[in-house]
C-alpha cells in the first residue's frame, strides 16, 4: 500500500506538472532590462489590437501614457486625455550641486487607483512607496482636505528622492491636464516605481496596435442592386445606433452607388448593414441568404474608404407578382399598376370594404 501511495503521489505530481506546463505562459522570458525611467518596453502596446471594441458613439479607451508611450489625443467623442497624466506645474526640484544628478524632490501628477499598505497606486499601474508621515492636502489650497485618497481622485505627488517615497499627496476631484513637462516629471518619478516580480513578456500583447482615438474620416461606398429605384434612399444601420434601420442616410452619387463620409475615432469598432429604411428591406447576400453584419474597425490612419456591394434587398427577392386574395382590379394580377389605385370601381360595382390584411 505505501508503494501504491508513492505511485499515486508521483502520478499526482506529474499531473500537476503537466497542468502547470499547459497553463503557464508560452514564453517564460527572463526579466527584461528595466532601466529607471524607461517604463514599459516600447514593444508593449498601450492597447492591444484585439481588445478595443468601442461603438460609433463610444470613445475608444486611449492608452494611458506610460513613460514609454506618450499620451494619446482626445477622441472625437469627447474622451479626454487619460488619467495618470502629469499635470502642468509638475516639477523636479534640483538637488544640491555635486550631490547627485537626480533632483531631491520630484513632483508629478496622476489619477489614484488606491492607497494601501504603505504604497500609493496610480492608474498607470505604477506603485510608489509612501512615507510613514504622508501628508494629504488639498490640491488648490495646500491646506487640509476632506478628501480621502482613493480611486478616481487626481493627485499631485511629492516624492522625496532620498527615501524614494511619496511624502505628500495633494488631492483634487478635478481632472488634471497633460503637457510635456509633466510627462518628463513623471518619467523622473518612474525610477522609483516598486515592482515585486521580474518582468515577463506577454506574447499576446506584442503585436497590438497603438490607438490614440484620433478622428478618422471614413467613407462608406456601396454598390446597390441594379433593381434599386432611383428614388430609393439607402441607409446604414449599426449596432451603435441600436440597429435603427434608418440611422445614417447615404448620398446617391450615381445609379448604382451611394456614399457617406463620417468621422470616427480610431479604435472604433462596429457592426453595420445597409437598408432601404426598414428591416424588411435590408441587404441579403449574393446567395439570397441573410448575411452577418459587416464588421469594421477604424485603424490609426487619416482617412479610410470602405467599399461594399449589396447584391439584393430582402424585399426584392424576385419581382413576380403574388396572386393573393382580394386582388383587384384584375383577378390574376394583384396590383400591376403601382401608380394607379388598386381599388378602381367600375359602374355597377359596389365599393370595396377594407378587411384586415397582414
Amino acid at each position: 500500500m505505501p508503494r501504491l501511495q508513492t505511485y499515486f503521489t508521483a502520478g499526482l505530481t506529474a499531473l500537476a506538472l503537466l497542468a502547470a506546463a499547459t497553463t503557464a505562459p508560452a514564453q517564460q522570458t527572463p526579466q527584461l532590462p528595466h532601466a529607471p525611467g524607461q517604463g514599459e518596453p516600447s514593444t508593449v502596446p498601450a492597447t492591444p489590437a484585439p481588445l478595443p471594441e468601442p461603438s460609433l458613439l463610444t470613445a475608444p479607451s486611449p492608452g494611458v501614457p506610460s513613460p514609454g508611450a506618450p499620451s494619446p489625443g482626445a477622441s472625437p467623442s469627447g474622451a479626454s486625455p487619460p488619467p495618470g497624466s502629469p499635470a502642468p506645474g509638475s516639477s523636479a526640484a534640483p538637488a544640491p550641486a555635486g550631490v547627485n544628478s537626480k533632483p531631491a524632490i520630484v513632483r508629478f501628477t496622476g489619477q489614484l487607483l488606491d492607497v494601501r499598505n504603505g504604497y500609493v497606486y496610480f492608474t498607470t499601474a505604477d506603485a510608489f512607496k509612501t512615507s510613514p508621515v504622508l501628508r494629504v492636502v488639498d490640491f488648490d489650497t495646500g491646506g487640509p482636505t476632506s478628501l480621502t485618497p482613493g480611486p478616481e481622485l487626481y493627485a499631485r505627488a511629492t516624492l522625496e528622492a532620498a527615501s524614494g517615497s511619496i511624502v505628500e499627496l495633494a488631492l483634487t476631484r478635478r481632472k488634471l491636464p497633460t503637457d510635456e513637462a509633466s510627462l518628463q516629471a513623471y518619467q523622473q518619478a518612474h525610477s522609483y516605481v516598486i515592482t515585486g516580480s521580474p518582468k515577463v513578456v506577454a506574447p499576446e500583447l506584442l503585436h497590438g496596435q497603438r490607438l490614440t482615438g484620433r478622428p478618422v474620416a471614413v467613407t462608406f461606398y456601396v454598390q446597390v442592386p441594379p433593381t434599386t429605384s432611383l428614388t430609393d434612399t439607402v441607409y446604414i444601420t449599426t449596432d451603435a445606433s441600436g440597429w435603427v434601420a434608418n440611422a445614417m442616410r447615404m448620398d446617391r452619387i450615381d445609379a448604382l452607388h451611394y456614399r457617406l463620409t463620417r468621422s470616427f475615432a480610431s479604435g472604433t469598432k462596429f457592426a453595420y448593414r445597409y437598408t432601404r429604411g426598414s428591416w424588411t428591406s435590408v441587404e441579403v447576400g449574393e446567395d439570397g441568404l441573410q448575411d452577418d453584419p459587416h464588421q469594421f474597425f477604424v485603424p490609426e490612419v487619416d482617412a479610410k474608404r470602405l467599399t461594399d456591394v449589396v447584391y439584393r434587398w430582402s424585399d426584392q427577392n424576385g419581382t413576380q407578382q403574388q396572386a393573393g386574395p382580394d386582388a383587384i382590379p384584375t383577378p390574376f394580377n394583384p396590383n400591376p399598376f403601382a401608380n394607379l389605385p388598386s381599388a378602381i370601381q367600375h359602374p355597377g360595382v359596389p365599393p370595396p370594404s377594407p378587411t384586415p390584411k397582414p
Binding site: 492591444p48 479607451s61 433593381t227 445606433s241 370601381q345 360595382v349
Partner: protein, 598 residues
C-alpha cells in the same frame, strides 16, 4: 483503496475544473453597489461604494469602484480589491478583466506591490510580472457625461445586455423609476426584429432579459388606436431568432405575431411569419378572428439560389353556418382558405461577355394561387349572394370562368425575368463622369390566356466635380402591360370609373386605358457635402404618366422639386429637413419633413 481512488478522482476533477476555468471567461457579472450608473453615450456602467461583483464561476470581487466599457468588453475594479474564489483570497489595488482575451490583470497589495496576470478565471495560478496592457487600469472619465440609468444592481451579460435592478431612467430632465430595465448593446441585429405594424410613435420598455432573451412592453401611438401598449418577447441564438408579439394589448383590435428564423445550414435558411388578428375585449370570445401565415425557405447552390414562399390565409377562424350566410353575417370568402406558393430560381450576377461591361442576372419561377378569388365584398357579390342588393351579378371578374361561378379555380403561374446592367462606365480619364444603364424585363404567364409584362429601362449620367459636389441625371421608362387577348375590353372597359374616396372622384383619364401604362421620369439631382457635418441635396423630377394621374390621389406629379438639408446640430444628433414642392399638380400641398437621427 477507495479513499485513494476518491482522492485521485477529486484531484483529476480539480485539475479538469482548473483547465475549464482557464478556458472560459466569465459569462456574466452580477454587480451590486451603493450606486450603479449607466452612461448611454459611452456604453459605460459604473458602480460606486461597496462594490460587489459575482462572476459566472462564483468568484466574488469587491472593491470601492467598478467600471465597465460594454463595447470594449473590459471591466475594472479599483480600490481595496478583494478576490474570493474557492480557497483563493487576494487583496489588491486594482483588477482588470478582459473577457475577450481571456485575461485578468491584478495589482497585488499583498506585501510589495506586484502585477499579476490570470488566465481566464483560474485564480489559483498567478503569472507574476507578466506584462499588462498600458491602459488596463484606466478609469474612464465620465465626469462630463449625463447618467441615463441610475440603479442599485446590474446583471451584465457581456456583448449582449445589462439588466438593471432598482433602476431610474433619465427622461426629460427627471429620473423616472422603472423597477427593472434591460439595456441591450448587442452587435447582433436580431434583437431588433419585431412583428409590430407601423406606428407613429413607439417607445420600448425592456424589463426582463437574459443571455438569449429580452421581454419588452412598448408604449405606442397611431392615429387610429391612439395610445396603447404592446408586448414583445425576443429569443435570439446567434443567427436564429424567434419573436412573439401582441399589438396592441390594450385595444380590442389585436394582432398576435410570431416571427422565426432558422439558419438550417450555411446554405439554407427558413423563416416563418404568422399573424392572428382578432377583435376582442379582454379575453372574451372574439367577434372577428383571421389568420395569415407566411413560410419562406431559401437555399443556395453554386451560382444559383432557390426560394419557396408559401402564404396561407384564413379570413375567418370563427364558425359560420349557412344560416349566417343567408343572414348576411358571412360571405363566400368566410368559407375559403386561400393559399399561394412560388418556387423561384435566381441566377447570380454574370458577365455578359468578357469584352463588355454588361452584367446580367436572371430569375424564373413557378407558383399557384388557390381560392384566391371568389364572390365577396371586394370582387363583387354574385347574383345568388343574399347581400347582393344591386340585383346584378357583381362578380364580373368571375365571368371569365362562367356566369355561375362563385369561385375562381386554382391558378398556376410562371415567370421569367432578367436584368442587364452596366457598372459605372467612366467617360473621362479622371473617372469623374460615369454612365450607367439598366434594363429589366419580366413576363408572367397565368394558367389562362393572360400574361403581364413589366419593363424598366434606366440610363443615367453622373458627374463628380470634387469629392464634395456631385450631379446625377437619369431617365427612366417603366412600361406595364396586362394582356387578356380578345377579352381585353372586358377587364379594361372604356368607361369613367370612380375612385372610391368619400368624394367619389371620377377618373376620366382611365377611359383610354386598356391595361398598358407607361411612366417616364427625368431626374436631376445635385449633392453638396462640404464636410461631414453638412449636406445639401437638390432634386428636380419631371414625370409623364399614362394614364393621367389625379393630383393628390395617385400618380406622379408632373414636376417636383425637393430640397434637403442635413446638418449635425450636436455630436450625436443629425437634423434632416426636407421640403418637396409639386407643380402642375392641382396645387398639391408641399411636403415638409423634419427628422432627427444619430
Amino acid at each position: 483503496m477507495r479513499l485513494i481512488f476518491a482522492v485521485c478522482a477529486a484531484a483529476l476533477m480539480t485539475l479538469a475544473g482548473l483547465r475549464c476555468a482557464a478556458a472560459a471567461p466569465t459569462t456574466s457579472l452580477d454587480l451590486r453597489a451603493d450606486r450603479v450608473v449607466y452612461y448611454s453615450n459611452r456604453y459605460i456602467v459604473t458602480g460606486e461604494g461597496h462594490v460587489h461583483v459575482r462572476l459566472s464561476d462564483g468568484t466574488i470581487l469587491t472593491s470601492e469602484l467598478f467600471s465597465m466599457d460594454l463595447k470594449l468588453n473590459r471591466y475594472l475594479l479599483a480600490g481595496n480589491v478583494h478576490i474570493d474564489s474557492g480557497n483563493v483570497h487576494e487583496v489588491g489595488a486594482g483588477f482588470a478583466g478582459y473577457p475577450d482575451t481571456d485575461r485578468s490583470y491584478f495589482l497585488s497589495a499583498h506585501g510589495d506591490p506586484d502585477k499579476w496576470t490570470y488566465f481566464g478565471l483560474d485564480f489559483n495560478d498567478q503569472h507574476k510580472g507578466r506584462a499588462q496592457p498600458g491602459d488596463a487600469f484606466f478609469i474612464p472619465d465620465v465626469s462630463r457625461e449625463k447618467p441615463y440609468i441610475v440603479a442599485s444592481s446590474a446583471m451584465i451579460i457581456p456583448k449582449t445586455n445589462v439588466k438593471f435592478g432598482g433602476s431610474r431612467l433619465y427622461i426629460l430632465g427627471v429620473f423616472v423609476p422603472t423597477g427593472s430595465w434591460v439595456q441591450s448593446f448587442s452587435a447582433n441585429p436580431n434583437y431588433s426584429q419585431n412583428g409590430f405594424a407601423g406606428a407613429a410613435f413607439d417607445i420600448g420598455l425592456p424589463y426582463q432579459g437574459s443571455a438569449h432573451a429580452v421581454s419588452a412592453v412598448h408604449l405606442r401611438y397611431d392615429g387610429l388606436q391612439k395610445f396603447f401598449l404592446s408586448f414583445d418577447q425576443h429569443f435570439v441564438w446567434g443567427r436564429d431568432y424567434v419573436v412573439f408579439s401582441v399589438n396592441p394589448v390594450t385595444q380590442p383590435l389585436r394582432q398576435f405575431n410570431l416571427i422565426g428564423y432558422k439558419r438550417i445550414s450555411p446554405k439554407m435558411e427558413a423563416r416563418i411569419f404568422a399573424q392572428l388578428t382578432t377583435y376582442q375585449h379582454g379575453i372574451y370570445q372574439p367577434t372577428i378572428s383571421s389568420a395569415y401565415q407566411n413560410y419562406e425557405y431559401v437555399a443556395s447552390q453554386g451560382h444559383s439560389a432557390f426560394s419557396i414562399v408559401v402564404d396561407q390565409y384564413n379570413p375567418a377562424l370563427l364558425h359560420f353556418s349557412k344560416e349566417d350566410y343567408r343572414l348576411g353575417l358571412a360571405d363566400e370568402s368566410y368559407f375559403d382558405h386561400p393559399s399561394d406558393g412560388t418556387l423561384t430560381w435566381y441566377l447570380r450576377d454574370m458577365q455578359l461577355t468578357a469584352y463588355t461591361p454588361v452584367k446580367f442576372r436572371m430569375r424564373a419561377g413557378y407558383g399557384f394561387a388557390h381560392d384566391g378569388y371568389h364572390c365577396g365584398p371586394l370582387t363583387g357579390r354574385c347574383i345568388n349572394d343574399p347581400q347582393n342588393k344591386s340585383g346584378i351579378d357583381e362578380g364580373y371578374v368571375l365571368d371569365y370562368f362562367g356566369a355561375d361561378r362563385t369561385r375562381v379555380p386554382t391558378i398556376m403561374q410562371k415567370f421569367l425575368g432578367a436584368t442587364l446592367y452596366t457598372n459605372s462606365i467612366p467617360l473621362d480619364r479622371l473617372d469623374s463622369l460615369n454612365l450607367n444603364a439598366t434594363f429589366d424585363k419580366q413576363r408572367q404567364w397565368f394558367s389562362l390566356p393572360h400574361y403581364t409584362d413589366t419593363t424598366t429601362s434606366t440610363v443615367s449620367l453622373s458627374k463628380l466635380y470634387t469629392r464634395k459636389l456631385s450631379f446625377l441625371g437619369a431617365y427612366t421608362v417603366t412600361q406595364l402591360g396586362d394582356y387578356y387577348g380578345a377579352r381585353q375590353l372586358e377587364f379594361y372597359p372604356p368607361d369613367d370609373p370612380i375612385y372610391p374616396n368619400p368624394g367619389g372622384i371620377a377618373y376620366p383619364g382611365y377611359r383610354a386605358f386598356r391595361g398598358f401604362s407607361t411612366t417616364r421620369s427625368l431626374l436631376g439631382s445635385m449633392a453638396e457635402t462640404p464636410n461631414a457635418y453638412f449636406n445639401y441635396i437638390l432634386t428636380v423630377r419631371r414625370n409623364r404618366d399614362f394614364p393621367t394621374p389625379i393630383p393628390g390621389l395617385f400618380g406622379n406629379a408632373p414636376w417636383s422639386v425637393t430640397n434637403e438639408i442635413r446638418f449635425r446640430i450636436a455630436k450625436q444628433i443629425l437634423l434632416d429637413a426636407t421640403r418637396t414642392d409639386y407643380f402642375n399638380f392641382g396645387g398639391y400641398t408641399p411636403q415638409f419633413t423634419l427628422q432627427f437621427g444619430p
